[in-house]
């Protein structure tokens, strides 16, 4: 069906995911049940939502290493406010505003001050964590207060038998895909990622669009944070210092979205997320040690990148300078 030329990384990963599913279905009892499959998707839904946020930025030739910090600090602050008597709606609005503001500042630093994205978001992540820890909340872990019981359904409820986090993931995917395809700004993001200078010459407002990218990323981060906080009934902001953000990048890249921008879409994120989900689920059923899981996950990612590089080699003459 596919020639070698059509063998994109997305298809390789999809094939891998399907292959693994088949193997697990045959080898592992209890894998191929509706219940397990739903919990599989549910377990990676936060990762997937964050993946969409990261994908939007990466398609626009950026990267957002502050994503997890924004998510954790904003939600922790929201919960903290609710616990200290602020009405839930106000707290949520303030948390969302915090995310947007953080995203706009990051975008400003990248678009207008021209700090390299990888570095600006790295520093912003550190800064946001520090800011939140010092000014906004008192403890690393903030538990869901009783006043916020009314939103627990986001993380723990289910609708028509499907867990809400899965639905949220689906909703974010759908909106993301529509945004990239039918909204002018979404198309601009892709154009900027493909060739920033050409986009600028064409008259696309490059800098505002870049700021918008990071604001959007913060917004989606807030949604992911809501799902996380309501499903485990707490928010641990130490997650900002973990390697979780690398996992998000893995999902995006695994699906086949090039870090040099302009390529890929929501579908790639879904594929990447599914492969990780299947892997983790299968290995958990097999009771593989956590560190070994990490090694296997990484090796598979490495294999995917190697395969992509061999099938779609980079040309020495056209490779972009500073493209790391």
């Amino acid at each position: 069906m596919f020639g070698v030329a059509n063998l994109t990384q997305e298809r390789i990963v999809l094939a891998l995911a399907l292959g693994l599913t088949t193997v697990f279905s045959i080898a592992l009892p209890g894998f191929l049940t509706a219940e397990n499959l739903l919990s599989l998707v549910r377990s990676v839904s936060v990762l997937g939502i964050l993946g969409i946020a990261m994908a939007l930025v990466v398609i626009g030739r950026g990267i957002d290493l502050s994503l997890v910090a924004v998510m954790a600090v904003s939600l922790a602050w929201t919960l903290h406010m609710v616990a200290t008597g602020v009405p839930l709606a106000v707290a949520l609005a303030l948390g969302l505003a915090f995310c947007l503001l953080a995203g706009i500042i990051t975008g400003f630093l990248i678009a207008y001050v021209e700090i390299p994205a990888i570095f600006a978001t790295l520093a912003m992540g550190t800064f946001i964590y520090g800011f939140g820890r010092y000014f906004l909340i008192t403890l690393d872990v903030v538990y869901l207060p009783d006043a916020a019981r009314s939103i627990v359904w986001i993380g723990s409820g289910s609708f028509l038998g499907i867990p809400v986090p899965v639905l949220v993931f689906g909703g974010v995917c759908l909106l993301g895909a529509l945004f990239l395809r039918y909204v002018k700004a979404g198309r601009y993001v892709r154009a900027i990622g493909d060739n920033l200078l050409a986009a600028r010459i064409t008259g696309i407002p490059v800098r505002p669009i870049i700021v918008m990218q990071y604001a959007l990323s913060g917004l989606i981060g807030f949604v992911a944070g809501l799902v996380t906080a309501t499903s485990v009934a707490s928010m641990n902001i130490r997650v900002a210092n973990s390697t979780f953000v690398y996992d998000v990048i893995l999902v995006v890249v695994l699906g086949g979205i090039g870090l040099s921008g302009g390529k890929g879409g929501v579908r790639n994120v879904i594929v990447g997320t599914l492969l990780i989900g299947v892997l983790i689920n299968g290995m958990t059923i097999m009771d593989v040690q956590y560190t070994v899981q990490n090694v296997i996950k990484s090796l598979i990612l490495l294999a995917a990148i190697v395969a992509d590089t061999i099938i779609n080699p980079r040309d020495e003459q056209t490779a972009q300078q500073g493209d790391i």
Binding site: L109, V113, E114, I115, P116, I118, F119, A120, L122, A123, M124, G125, T126, F127, I128, Y129, G130, F131, G132, R133, Y134, F135, N241, T243, Y246, I249, L250, V253, L259, Q289, T291, V292, N294, V295, K297, S298, L299, L301, L302, I305, V306, T309, I310, P313, R314, E316, Q317, A319, Q321, G322, D323, I324
Partner: protein
């Protein structure tokens, strides 16, 4: 001079405006921002923390700094070649546990443990290098993956060996010394860091592999196209990076002797921060070991200082993030705008009042009165020669001329219709002279003073002179050797038009009129080069007088001809011969009757003469107006003047319409004819001189008959 002129004269004489631009043009100015940040951080914490700058505190700091700095150097090397190595933190942790296992569990000697540890680091580096260098994977992702894999391996090893490691005990003085010892009051690890930084600096700046590495980072495509082994170079940077990170891990193990699960966690971020803060570019090509050291020291001081201040975990990150953002923002803006600022401030005009020009009115009694005597020259090599700045003829009547393409071309007597490339010297051949032995001595713009033997053997005579003390511009290297002449004793006197501008920017030097040129003497007997006259205003033509102890030289932007005595009773003095010319003088050469020919490359204009008395106006022009729109000297009309040693004008040849020779840079008399060259012309002119000695030649005049 009016009072306003006097004020302007002293204002521009006493205030050294040009130094700002010269400092900005220096490469080391790149480090100014990181260095300032370091000083601010140091002073800031020195004030905030009482004994922050004490010996004990500094010792503790430098001990950590040694390990940290090594990792920063590792990251810098990879970044220089255009990559990034996120796995350094994990490699450090792996090396730490390897070293401890070797020492505490297997009881190996320190040397063996050292080698094995470094080998482990190099192996991880090699994996990175093979994947990124040869398979050309993306550096960021690949090292991210190795970061996770190596970290997982460390976790697995920890589960297995942590207890045994903490139970083991090492009885080795050397191990103790590596972890805790000092070399001349400096902790061992820090001394090692400094040593390695110096080695890395030398390798990067002085050796072929280092240049290859910088070339790959500067432009991977160009490096590939010139035949550098791009893949191998990239691969090796990761191996070096892995090895250095492992070395840091080994030091870490010797210092602390414990294996924890948090060793090296998040190190890649701090290290990347330090490398970028020091001024190394993400994406490659710009950076150095010194920048790495600068960044490492700054970040270490910040981290340590924040701990000492007692800031909580939140405040620590808060301030670190803020400092990072500010520092990088400043650095990015600085890097982007430095060249713009430099372009604006480099040209720093001086005040210069030229004497009033003599009249050139046609039909007047002025010796410079216009005529059209160059109208009927015959031309040689029309359209076949590109810019003969100087022309010279040998005893066999062949013509030699330098061209824009770096050749010295020879036209064959008698009809000069045939030509050949006599020698390809490169650069921009300018003034020429024949030495006593028949060799052609040539000033080559951009290269220096060269000798072309009759058998076409090219050899360099000199390309550097003694550097002026306290000069910001490195004026030891010759930039624009212009014209020369040879004294009877064989010494070669040559002019360097300007030390502040490149060859193609010569009109800008005129706009500046600061006096950036000099005359230099090369002594072939001693093989020494000394500057003898400085601060001349674009010294150009040089011609030996007939007394054998002085020479005439023209200063183009001063519109004057002077005489310098290098021997005799007046040795070392300068006399003005012609104080005011109507145009800008270029080469001077001997005429057959004991007088001298002088080429005027262009004619003065009242507007530029006025502008020279208004340095502020020219400065504003240089800053605000595009270079294409600047006032330039008029070079559309050329002229040849004959004068004697007392400065009397004897003859003047004009080409008013500029049809044949719009811009005359040289002329050479030979057997009753005058041969005319121009740096932008496509021809050599030949004019019969009816009154001249039909047998006189230049080489005879200098060195006598054969």
């Amino acid at each position: 001079m009016s009072i306003a002129d006097t004020i302007a004269y002293w204002r521009y004489r006493l205030v050294p405006d040009h130094i700002v631009g010269e400092i900005l043009a220096k490469r080391w100015i790149d480090n100014a921002i990181p260095f300032t940040i370091l000083i601010v951080v140091l002073v800031g914490f020195g004030v905030a923390v009482p004994d922050f700058l004490s010996i004990g505190s500094m010792t503790a700091l430098t001990r950590q700094l040694g390990e940290f700095g090594l990792v920063v150097i590792a990251m810098t090397i990879v970044m220089l070649a255009g990559g990034i190595d996120l796995s350094v933190g994990s490699v450090l942790a792996l090396a730490n546990i390897t070293a401890l296992a070797m020492m505490n569990i297997f009881g190996l000697p320190v040397g063996a443990a050292f080698v094995i540890t470094l080998a482990v680091g190099a192996a991880v580096g090699l994996v990175n290098g093979l994947l990124i260098g040869y398979l050309r994977l993306r550096a960021f992702l690949t090292t991210l993956v190795t970061l996770i894999i190596v970290r997982s391996i460390v976790d697995m090893l920890l589960l297995k060996y942590a207890v045994q490691i903490s139970a083991g005990f090492v009885d080795s003085d050397l191990w103790e010394f590596i972890g805790d010892g000092k070399i001349a009051q400096v902790p061992f690890s820090f001394a090692l860091f400094i040593g390695i930084a110096i080695v890395v600096h030398l390798v990067l700046s002085r050796t072929r592999p280092g240049w290859h590495l910088m070339a790959v980072g500067g432009s991977r495509r160009s490096a590939h196209n010139v035949g550098i082994h791009v893949r191998r170079t990239v691969c090796l940077t990761y191996v070096v990076s892995g090895t250095l990170a492992a070395l840091a891990g080994f030091l870490f193990a010797a210092r602390l002797g414990g294996a924890g699960s948090d060793t090296g966690i998040g190190l890649e971020i701090t290290v990347l921060t330090a490398a970028v803060l020091g001024g190394n570019s993400l994406g490659g090509g710009r950076g150095s070991a010194a920048k790495a050291a600068l960044g490492a020291i700054t970040v270490m001081i910040i981290i340590n200082g924040l701990v000492r201040v007692g800031a909580g975990s939140g405040a620590n990150s808060l301030i670190l993030g803020l400092i990072l953002l500010a520092a990088v923002a400043i650095d990015v803006r600085w890097l982007k705008n430095r060249h713009k600022v430099l372009a604006k401030v480099y040209v720093s005009p001086a005040f210069r009042r030229l004497p009033d020009p003599p009249s050139t009115e046609r039909g007047s009694a002025s010796p410079y009165a216009l005529n059209d005597r160059l109208h009927d020259v015959s031309v040689i090599g029309l359209g076949e020669i590109d810019g003969p700045e100087d022309v010279i003829l040998d005893e066999n009547d062949h013509i030699y001329a330098g061209t824009r393409t770096g050749d010295i071309v020879r036209f064959f007597a008698p009809d000069y219709s045939q030509q050949e490339v006599f020698a390809h010297v490169g650069g921009r051949p300018l003034g020429m002279a024949f030495a006593r032995d028949g060799a052609l001595i040539c000033c080559i713009g951009g290269m220096g003073l060269y000798r072309i033997a009759p058998d076409r053997q090219i050899s360099k005579l000199t390309d550097e002179t003694n550097r002026t003390p306290f000069s910001v511009v490195d004026d030891a290297r010759l930039r624009l050797a212009d014209d020369l002449d040879i004294a009877p004793d064989g010494r070669i006197f040559f002019s360097e038009a300007t030390i502040r501008y490149e060859m193609h920017e010569w009109p800008v030097d005129g706009l500046e009129s600061r006096g950036n040129g000099r005359i230099i003497c090369y002594d072939p007997g001693m093989d020494t080069t000394r500057t003898i006259l400085r601060n001349l205003n674009f010294p150009n033509g040089i011609c030996m007088t007939h007394d054998g102890e002085s020479f005439l030289f023209a200063e183009t932007w001063s519109c004057s001809v002077s005489r310098y005595y290098f021997g005799g009773p007046k040795a070392g003095t300068v006399e003005t011969v012609i104080p005011a010319l109507p145009g800008y003088p270029d080469n001077i050469n001997r005429a057959s009757d004991g007088t001298y020919w002088l080429a005027l490359v262009g004619i003065r204009t009242p507007s530029l003469d006025l502008a020279l008395r208004m340095p502020g106006f020219r400065r504003r022009m240089a800053r605000r107006v595009a270079p294409d729109e600047w006032l330039f000297p008029n070079i559309n009309t050329g002229c040849i003047v004959r004068f004697d040693e007392r400065g009397r004008i004897l003859d003047v040849l004009w080409d008013f319409g500029g049809n044949n020779h719009p811009m005359i840079t040289s002329m050479r008399e030979h057997r009753g004819h005058l041969y005319i060259g121009g740096i932008l012309n496509n021809r050599i002119g030949r004019l019969p001189l009816p009154d001249a000695d039909p047998h006189w030649t230049g080489p005879q005049s200098y060195w006598g008959g054969k």
